[in-house]
Symmetry: C2
């Protein structure tokens, strides 16, 4: 019985990791579409959203089944509750990918404003934060979680820089500002991806502090 | 023992309701500050963020204690898990209030663009969605939760209208567009409040469908 429970915990970890991979891939694809203005890639992101939503429900159900299976020890209880919270953040990372893809579909119909801002770098940083936050959780690594929190300031700064760059570009632009506004929204969507990574990292710290994690790691 | 558990569930409901009240009040204050450009109200919103964060941790701890206290029945298990998920959304509603307040502090230093857009109405709608989603949860009312989901489209439409209005205003504006960009960001923050309400409503439907809620209501 105890073994079945631990097998269930391992399955839950794997499922959450797969969920994270899907969410990361969605953002990567959306940003790839941003760079190439490739609407067909946007359509893939939109199509795959339902898979991420289904995976979210699976993780929730697995978590609830584990909670119901037996009286979990405190350390396992906190682990499962953290899975539920992190799962919700990963699903919303996927939502941001959809938001970006929709914006790219709008951008593809307007001239490129030729703005000198580095959306791919902001995306890379945000995606790496999600990946590291999830790895920090699965290896109970508080230092890695802490590094994610610190990187959030970098993303916020990049977002502010883009806000200022768009503001300046608008002043010098005649005609539509729609493409500039779209780029601003994409930057904010990436900032939200980083926010979700930050939320996950905070959950990791909460979980590690609130539970005897060494015990968990040694089991 | 069973009675202590039920007392705990009631306490958890009350605490979550109080958490919801704090988050709603924060958004109300931020929008009030937006209308009056009153920086002192913004400072109250920033100051009170730590109270909302502390309340979030309390709800999580209460939930974990209840899960640990005894083997909860399936219906109670799902209720507690939903509390944990809804709690996270309410905390992020509070984050949006902080984002709006920061934006208002920036707006207060720039001339009013005199744009004909109805931020207060968008705010009212978003806040009512949060309130109704929380009430739907506490009374296990799927119809009310469904009505929250439907209202999300209204907020999305308002957000799109504001996007277009700002775009047009930018075309007709010489000099800084910063105040217009700030207003756009405030609108998006309110859209996120509505998104959180939508997430809560989805959790309510998930919870009610996944559990014998009539049993819960009759207890």
């Amino acid at each position: 019985m105890r073994t079945r429970f631990h097998q269930g915990l391992d399955d839950l970890k794997q499922k959450l990791l797969a969920m994270g991979g899907m969410a990361e891939q969605a953002v990567e694809r959306a940003v790839q579409a941003f760079q190439t203005r490739d609407v067909s890639v946007c359509e893939i992101v939109l199509r795959d959203e339902s898979k991420i939503n289904a995976a979210e429900r699976d993780v929730d159900e697995m978590s609830i089944d584990l909670l119901a299976m037996q009286q979990p020890m405190a350390v396992d209880l906190r682990f499962i509750v953290s899975c539920i919270k992190i799962n919700a953040d990963l699903e919303r990372v996927g939502d941001q990918a959809v938001n970006i893809a929709e914006r790219v579909m709008d951008l593809a119909t307007h001239p490129d404003p030729g703005l000198n801002i580095d959306i791919p770098r902001m995306a890379q940083l945000s995606i790496s934060m999600v990946r590291d936050a999830l790895n920090a959780f699965l290896s109970a690594d508080v230092d890695l979680a802490q590094s994610v929190l610190e990187r959030d300031d970098l993303v916020d700064n990049m977002n502010r820089e883009i806000f200022e760059a768009v503001n300046v570009a608008m002043r010098n632009t005649v005609g539509t500002h729609r493409n500039l506004l779209d780029i601003l929204v994409v930057a904010r969507n990436l900032e939200r991806v980083a926010d979700h990574a930050t939320n996950i990292a905070e959950d990791v710290i909460f979980w590690v502090r609130g539970a005897d994690v060494r015990h968990h790691a040694q089991r």
